[in-house]
Subunit: 329 residues, 2 copies
């Protein structure tokens, strides 16, 4: 099934079931008013929403309406834990080569970054950019998990994945390089994150939800209507189960925990493109000694989307413009 | 006023108003069933709870009962953002000297660490330790803030502080050194955090809630009934307002955001003691070349508490034992 959260003036919005073709929706309130309530009580409520989804995909249902992604908050508008991985080592290798970084990784241990989860941004909302000279995007996949006890195996962790999303992990590169060198993770490097309008159960991905614990889909990224890249999720160096097991090594993961993949990156980046500006700039620097691609400019419009084998958009699109920040003060 | 959250089988527990002397409590459900609901609607609900608190402190009220910290969850059992600072530079200096660390700080920019907030541990609950050779504690103060718009000034940020708490920031030092060198912040270094049983409005601190934006209270730490340290919060190198302003430089902070101070540390550490094992071990190493204080042992009992000028415990105590972790699998 496919789920979205509409704006209704509240912090958590109202949960919708969306048709597979993303054209129609119906309110989920009778089963679960919000995504948070659903994810906390998945076993009891998800089957009833699945039945509603089946009816919606079969034909007209009472109360259905046209689905409008511009009305959406993030599918889970806020949550209690968001962790982003850097699960495509290829991206790190390119960055380290271009900028002579020496990240002291431990072989076998994935990079995971604890992130803020109090204020996700809507998928089609104008995005206020506080600094217009070092902003970047990162196209990623993510999963939402159910309660997962401390020290669970990768197999148990994988069995706790309930929903899949896409996201633009907006990044400020000047802060990122500074904070990475300091060692304590990202604060000013990562303003609000933007998830795609629709979260889907893994079965909606068909064979692209692969037995190897990875998502075999292209992440299609365009900037101002022009192709930027379409790297595929299959090259993740760890499976979702492995990433979650490392995260939960000595702590419980509570229902609603979101795990992102990190920017999707392929070894054939020169052919398939990148999912972030920094990687493209790094490739340019490696090849010519200089980067010509610019960081985000005010007015830039970005689109992130993934399509199934049948050509259907799976999650809808993150489709947003970057605008000047205006202080409320 | 003083507030606590009792266990009731739910994820968010039930909110209580607690008497100033921490002996009596009354249910807050008629005003706000949970701390999350209170903090999201502070302006409307806090005055009514304050009135209830005033009545409770004046004499018997209908429905009051004896307050038992062992029945408590964290005052805010989970939230949407927890950030811990390292606001006592003295602690960092000691660690860097002892272990020849070279943390690349930028002058004027405080260290802030994004942390998980999905699974706080109860203040008196046995704490399961997955590894018994590198566990540590950190005695800290923390504040809970209301909605704070992006790019607010330190003064505006300070005005959004609603509640004050204490905490034990449980830390795994072997992971911490590894993760600090990698640069992406803390994951396995920081299992569940343990807040004291009672959150209080700043006025409950009297003059210890100082005009300089710091908490002028001793953090009293004991290990197995023996004094370990009582460093004072007044030596914070940034005020709470300054820390929050840096955190919110390019993003909104949403109601319920918790900001911790980092381990309390004083220049007179040799006299007043430390609030964590690592600092004491570092001081031993600097002085003798070796550390004799051991990391946490199974069965260790820790207590963290702060007292007002009148000798009254302000927040109650984090008072817990470290026990072997038993897998649920």
């Amino acid at each position: 099934m496919k789920l979205a959260t509409y704006k209704n003036g509240s912090r958590d919005g109202r949960l919708l079931v969306v048709s597979r073709d993303l054209t129609r929706a119906v309110d989920a309130a009778a089963v679960a008013p919000t995504m948070q309530q659903l994810i906390e009580d998945w076993a009891a409520r998800a089957p009833r929403l699945q039945a509603l989804s089946d009816r919606l995909n079969a034909g007209p249902v009472v109360g259905e309406f046209a689905f409008d992604p511009a009305m959406c908050l993030s599918p889970l508008p806020r949550t209690h834990q968001f962790v982003d991985a850097s699960a495509f080592l290829n991206h790190g290798h390119i960055m380290e080569e271009a900028y002579q970084l020496s990240v002291k990784k431990t072989p076998g241990i994935p990079v995971l970054v604890q992130r803020q989860s109090d204020d996700f941004w809507g998928p089609c909302d104008d995005y206020p950019l506080a600094e217009a000279d070092n902003g970047d995007f990162e196209g990623e996949f993510a999963v939402i998990v159910d309660d997962t006890p401390m020290a669970s195996s990768p197999e148990v962790c994988a069995s706790k994945i309930r929903l899949v999303m896409i996201l633009n992990d907006v990044s400020m590169r000047a802060h990122l390089f500074r904070e990475l060198q300091m060692g304590f993770g990202f604060i000013n490097a990562k303003p609000a994150t933007v998830f795609g309008p629709v979260a889907v159960t893994p079965d909606e991905l068909g064979e692209a939800w692969h037995a190897d614990g990875r998502i075999h889909l292209n992440m299609n990224v365009s900037r101002n209507g022009e192709w930027f890249g379409h790297p595929n999720g299959r090259e993740m160096d760890w499976s979702f189960g492995e990433l979650l097991a490392r995260l939960g090594l000595n702590r419980n993961l509570r229902a609603g925990t979101i795990l992102g993949t990190g920017t999707v990156s392929n070894k054939a980046a020169r052919a398939v493109g990148s999912a972030c500006l920094a990687e493209k700039r790094a490739l340019e620097k490696i090849e010519t000694g200089d980067s010509t691609t610019t960081f985000l400019k005010l007015g830039d419009r970005l689109r992130f989307e993934a399509f199934g084998a049948d050509g259907q958009s799976i999650f809808g699109a993150v489709d947003h413009r970057f605008v000047p920040f205006k202080s409320e003060q």
